[in-house]
Symmetry: C2
Subunit: 345 residues, 2 copies
DNA sequence: CTGAAAGCGCTTACAG
DNA sequence: CTGAAAGCGCTTACAG
């Protein structure tokens, strides 16, 4: 149970009214009293209930934004990101965690955080606020929904190996993010399982952006990779640009595999082979699961893993190109395609 | 002042408790009573105060979404749009207007609606809820912030005329949107002011999307335009694709002017001349103005017009290309560039 | 400078 | 099936 004004009042030996005055920066409070109360408030990180305040004052301090034609348009027309750019200002963001999360205005939260040890997750975990993580947590037993990134990275790498690629590079995401770290571990495991060395010169860290993928690929090219596994499609697209610029053919000279299967993956030149995650379903499932968690306090922790699926397009060659690919007798190519594989477009 | 349960109780001749039961679909209400109460509720479109309900029940029925690195990433990585795709589902959207707007959870709203006569605007206007429109309203006296779309369309068209273009086409936005309608009116006025005919065959309506711009341009090409004014940059980009495909050179064969100056405008091939609106500032200004309106109830209506600015890149040729452009003695070219004009990139 | 008390608009046992 | 009453957690005159 969250604390109330009354609790703070008891703890600091004053009345509820005085606590309220302190919180609202009313000047009619003796400085000594103010300090005393403030100390208590800070020590237990008290957040006044905004619903109650809203009721009492008739003001909530929240404003709404109505956009036409639903949420979808804000992603198709670059006009909207700009229009709500103020949302990204530090002044607005700072309040998010402490204030919006623990002030009685939300029943639970979905956290799409991939940071290795995000303080938000820890504080949420300790606060008893219902929440679900999209991703996984390395140590805490929290509700989560995720793909098996290690397995997915492993599978992507193996796919490249099957095509006879010998110098498989990877463009990773930031390594302080667990999903990104896991994909890299999958890559390492894939190579190790086939007795291939993991060469540092073939590993470049990106930042999920197209520019980052482009830059990473530029760093890799001098080291002569014949394939690259990018930890997301956006960086893969950047890598394709760098390869094109360097006059390298995809997939003939360098095969490329991405991750996500975001809509643009099928529109790159050439279309991208990529590890699909069912992102939309994960979002929906997160909402549904969270609501269920809210409705069943004290229920068991849920850790949901959804399946990924390699979507084969042309950026890594098709099976017939294996013959061109410098086949290797020691690691015979497995010509059977797992049933999980599907072709798209 | 919004009505309360107590008001409904009086109006329907029952107690507050019963009204609450009806609203919460409690089965312990005589059917006759329920109908009576429901009728009153519907007749005045009563919305219970969610802050009060949240206080009473300890549940608000709102869930939060925490995303890493701030709001900005959701626009750069296509992962996020997919993750929150459920927000776009009708089930979630339906509640928006009536429920979220009039339930005491927001103090005011920004409406980015461009529809000619949006019912939301009307209902907001009647409800006394503080709000500000991004755009303008054809008849109601509402707070608004907008650019002068007529003037901007006029200026874009005149720019093309100055370059000696004779068959200036336009790709409009949906004509049931006022901003889009205004831009078209500006185009018409620009041509009329220079005694040029407005040819229906040179007018095509788009839907703001790249695909829509592409399709519109394909319809225009057979009618031999030598310039096109697109009502936004996204459609202009689509038009560029269609022109490239038709082997028409930009700007030599067809000059193109866009609208917005969204970030991609400088990255098209060739970079786009476009009418810049200060979208970010409009967003910020809308927030600030709304807060001010909330803080000063009963203050005068504010109608803010912010300036646009033609950003000249290469899609409409540079001044020296005027000499190639088949100058017209009757309409001498004005070689002086207004100081408002600026060159970018 | 401080506290007791009323009130914001709901929900929900409790009593009938 | 219905109503009176208490309570959710705040704020804010009012009295001292």
């Amino acid at each position: 149970m969250p604390l109330t004004l009354e609790d703070i009042a008891h703890l600091s030996g004053v009345s509820r009214s005085t606590v309220s005055r302190v919180i609202n920066a009313d000047t009619n409070v003796k400085d000594e009293t103010r300090q005393k109360v403030l100390k208590v408030i800070q020590s237990i990180n008290f957040q006044p209930n905004l619903a109650a305040r809203g009721l009492a004052t008739g003001r909530t301090n929240v404003i709404g934004l109505v956009i036409p034609a639903g949420v979808s348009v804000i992603f198709t027309d670059p006009y909207f990101p700009q229009l709500i750019h103020w949302l990204a200002e530090p002044e607005y963001e700072r309040r998010t965690v402490s204030q919006i999360l623990h002030n009685g205005l939300v029943d639970g939260v979905i956290v799409s955080s991939t940071l290795m040890d995000d303080p938000i997750v820890k504080s949420l975990y300790e606060s008893k606020m219902p929440f679900i993580l999209i991703g996984r947590h390395p140590s805490l037993d929290v509700n989560s929904i995720d793909v098996d990134n290690i397995h997915a990275g492993w599978e992507a790498t193996l796919h490249l190996l099957r095509f006879g690629r010998k110098r498989i590079a990877t463009i990773t995401g930031p390594q302080n993010q667990i999903g990104s770290y896991d994909r890299y571990q999958g890559y390492v495991k894939g190579l190790s399982d086939r007795d291939q060395p993991v060469l540092p010169e073939l590993v470049a860290e990106g930042d999920w952006t197209e520019a980052g993928g482009y830059a990473a690929m530029r760093r890799l090219i001098p080291n002569k990779p014949d394939a690259v596994f990018a930890a997301n499609d956006v960086m893969a697209a950047g890598a394709l640009s760098a390869l094109r610029e360097a006059q390298l053919r995809v997939p003939e000279d360098v095969a490329v595999v991405g991750f996500d299967d975001t809509p643009n993956a099928s529109r790159t030149q050439p279309p991208l082979t990529t590890m699909r995650q069912p992102i939309q379903s994960m979002g929906t499932l997160a909402v549904e699961t969270l609501i269920d968690i809210i409705n069943h306090p004290g229920s068991e922790t849920r850790q949901i893993i959804v399946a990924t699926e390699l979507v084969i397009r042309s950026s890594c060659g098709t099976l017939k190109s294996i013959s061109e690919g410098g086949n290797d007798k020691k690691n015979p190519v497995n010509l059977s395609i797992p049933t999980l594989y599907q072709h798209h477009q």
